[in-house]
């Protein structure tokens, strides 16, 4: 696993992996380069390339389009009419049914998912920011070891430890509580990794020294000065962690028993398992799946700039 470290660690060395939204000039921006678009392209290649790209986006978007269309059809007609066009429109009736089913459990599941994601990602971002900041800006014993372990953990999926974690949690007796989902969700090695890069590139040492000379203590400097300078980056870290927790399935399905505590992914799958035995309408699962996707798609579209710069900085530079 050591060989991945250089690929990842290179990231820190490149100052132009600046935080999203950071003012240009945070690093030696590459000299003005010739725009690729000025390179001549023939009409033929343009048509070919665009044609292929259109086909691939059909592959990516058509299933989602189908989901949208199917979710608007009324319960008895899920598969009626064209699979790709509206008929028997009853989206609002479907959504009302979904939220009324079994005393509104679906709304509770959405709320739980929101709670796990917002609290987990919020606390997790703060913890990651503090750690990344310390690794970037302080010299302390074990600094290198800590960062090496973080890099290693980025490469070792949490999921592999979900089962042992469950066994351990049942020994400690926190299975089937909010904590059982929140505690593991808070820890994000990738967040620490990103935070280190962002702290190194967006918080100048001079600012910290100046604050020290003004008599501010280290904690105050972190909360009042550094955290603010890192804030665009923190949004990126928050966003990634939010999505990861929202999407998580194995951990919550393992450590939660109560229906009341489940997040929406686990709830939906438990419904889906009841379809075969006829205990729930297939249509209900479909509408639920559609509703569960909407918040994330909206978040992604409106916060594009953050995830793009995060991926670019985190994985490549």
């Amino acid at each position: 696993m050591s060989a991945a470290a250089p690929a990842l660690a290179d990231a820190g060395a490149r100052p132009d992996g600046a935080a999203p939204g950071a003012p240009a000039g945070g690093g030696p921006r590459r000299a003005v380069r010739p725009r690729r678009d000025t390179v001549e392209s023939t009409v033929g290649s343009r048509v070919l390339v665009t044609g292929v790209l259109v086909l691939t986006s059909v592959y990516f978007l058509l299933p989602l389009w189908w989901l949208l269309v199917a979710a608007t059809k009324d319960a008895g007609h899920t598969f009626a009419g064209s699979p790709l066009w509206f008929s028997h429109f009853d989206l609002f009736g479907n959504i009302a049914d979904l939220f009324a089913y079994k005393g509104g459990i679906f709304a509770l599941w959405l709320g739980n998912a929101g709670l796990y994601s917002i609290v987990g990602a919020g606390v997790g971002t703060l913890v990651a920011a503090a750690t990344g900041y310390a690794v970037a800006k302080y010299e302390f014993p074990g600094r290198r070891t800590l960062f090496a372990v973080v890099l290693g953990a980025v490469l070792v999926p949490k999921v592999l430890f979900t089962l042992p974690l469950f066994l351990m949690f049942s020994q400690v007796g926190i299975v089937n509580t909010y904590l059982a989902v929140l505690l593991p969700s808070i820890v994000s090695p990738f967040g620490v990794y990103l935070a280190r890069i962002f702290a190194a590139s967006s918080v100048p040492d001079e600012v910290i020294e100046a604050a020290r000379l003004d008599g501010a203590n280290e904690g105050r400097i972190f909360f009042r000065v550094s955290l603010r300078m890192m804030s665009p980056a923190l949004v990126t870290i928050f966003l990634f962690q939010f999505v990861e927790i929202w999407n998580n399935f194995l951990l919550p399905s393992q450590v939660l028993i109560d229906e009341q505590l489940k997040p929406v992914t686990v709830g939906l799958v438990s419904w889906n398992a009841l379809v075969q035995s006829g205990q729930i309408e297939r249509h209900m699962v479909l509408v639920g799946a559609f509703v569960a996707v909407v918040p994330l798609i909206v978040a992604f579209l409106s916060l594009q700039r953050f995830w793009r710069s995060g991926l670019a900085t985190g994985a490549v530079k």
Binding site: T56, L64, L67, F79, F140, L167, E218, F300, V316
Partner: protein, 318 residues
């Protein structure tokens, strides 16, 4: 609070000007102490949810459950270090699940990454129009939770009323997506659909990082766009491709959500379809030491595979 404030200005004015040197200088115990406060929450949690479970799994895996054949006394756990590991390696269903996931990874990962690389190169090429839209379109599936995308595909694959088959009807084709022959590849399609855009974005960002001068030089040398893509761009984004490869290999090893969700719609996905599902079913059977041993074997397998992959790829580059 006062003591804290008074102890902070450790830098002399000279140190301020040369802060970099000062920061690297050894022996700044005061700031080191603060740093420990900053990292403490992470370290504590990390030990709690990463390190401890691994240790606990290894410890648990060393025990054998002894059941009273008549069921008169509750089962007891006996220390027998190799018992579970021997059983895991002789467990035909578990070994089969390992093989299945290996086959899955060997086919799906290259296909998906080839697809992602081609997409990134096309979007990066001078001939592409509407780059923003195409980037977004391929990335959209990443915003869909894997469980939900698996649910959605389970409808699309439905043996009775698959919308895909409805669309193929005029051509006289019916595909049995969840039949014995196709199931694994139908799962592969769900994974590919969800993750191609993610990998594409990583590779695309690396392509964007190639200095314009390099491409200009290639153009002046008379290289065609295809040659430039293959001989200049691809070698330069190799680190990004390797990174996506490692993430994808690890992802295949932990394959769980997609087959688990699809298993409700088909009999071709059993409860031990993937290693993680197998470990999960041991938990359901309350055989915790065995589940722990399965987890350890899987984690070791992932580690060995990652190291092998790095060895192979770094040898070729040197």
């Amino acid at each position: 609070m006062t003591s804290v404030t008074s102890s902070t200005p450790v830098l002399t004015p000279a140190g301020r000007r040369d802060s970099r040197a000062a920061r690297r200088a050894p022996g700044r115990p005061r700031t080191a102490r603060y740093a420990l406060w900053f990292v403490a929450p992470f370290v504590v949690l990390f030990v709690g949810v990463y390190v401890a479970p691994i240790c606990y799994a290894i410890y648990q895996s060393l025990f054998r459950i002894e059941r009273d054949p008549l069921g008169l006394t509750p089962p007891t756990e006996v220390l027998d270090p190799l018992f579970n590991y021997a059983a895991v390696l002789q467990d035909a269903a578990f070994v089969a699940s390992l093989g299945r996931v290996l086959l899955f990874g060997a086919v799906q990962v290259p296909l998906m990454l080839g697809f992602a690389l081609a997409l990134a190169l096309l979007i990066d090429s001078a001939s592409a129009r509407g780059k923003g839209f195409f980037r977004l379109a391929s990335f959209a599936p990443y915003a869909v939770p894997t469980v939900v995308s698996a649910l959605m595909w389970s409808f699309l694959y439905s043996p009775t009323n698959s919308p895909i088959n409805r669309l193929l009807e005029p051509a006289g084709i019916t595909v049995d997506f969840l039949g014995a022959d196709l199931t694994l590849w139908s799962v592969a399609n769900v994974v590919t659909w969800g993750w191609t855009g993610y990998n594409m974005i990583i590779i695309y960002a690396a392509l964007q990082g190639i200095p314009g001068e390099v491409l200009e030089a290639a153009r002046l040398d008379g290289a065609s766009p295809w040659r430039t893509a293959w001989h200049v761009k691809v070698p330069l984004v190799r680190p990004a491709i390797l990174l996506t490869a490692v993430f994808s290999i690890i992802g295949s090893a932990q394959l769980y959500n997609e087959p688990f969700v699809l298993s409700s719609s088909t009999g071709t996905i059993g409860p031990q379809y993937t290693p993680l599902m197998a470990a999960q079913s041991s938990i359901t059977a309350a055989n915790y030491p065995y589940a722990a041993a399965q987890s350890v074997v899987l984690a070791l397998g992932v580690a060995v595979l990652s190291v092998l992959f790095f060895r192979l790829t770094s040898r070729r580059s040197s």
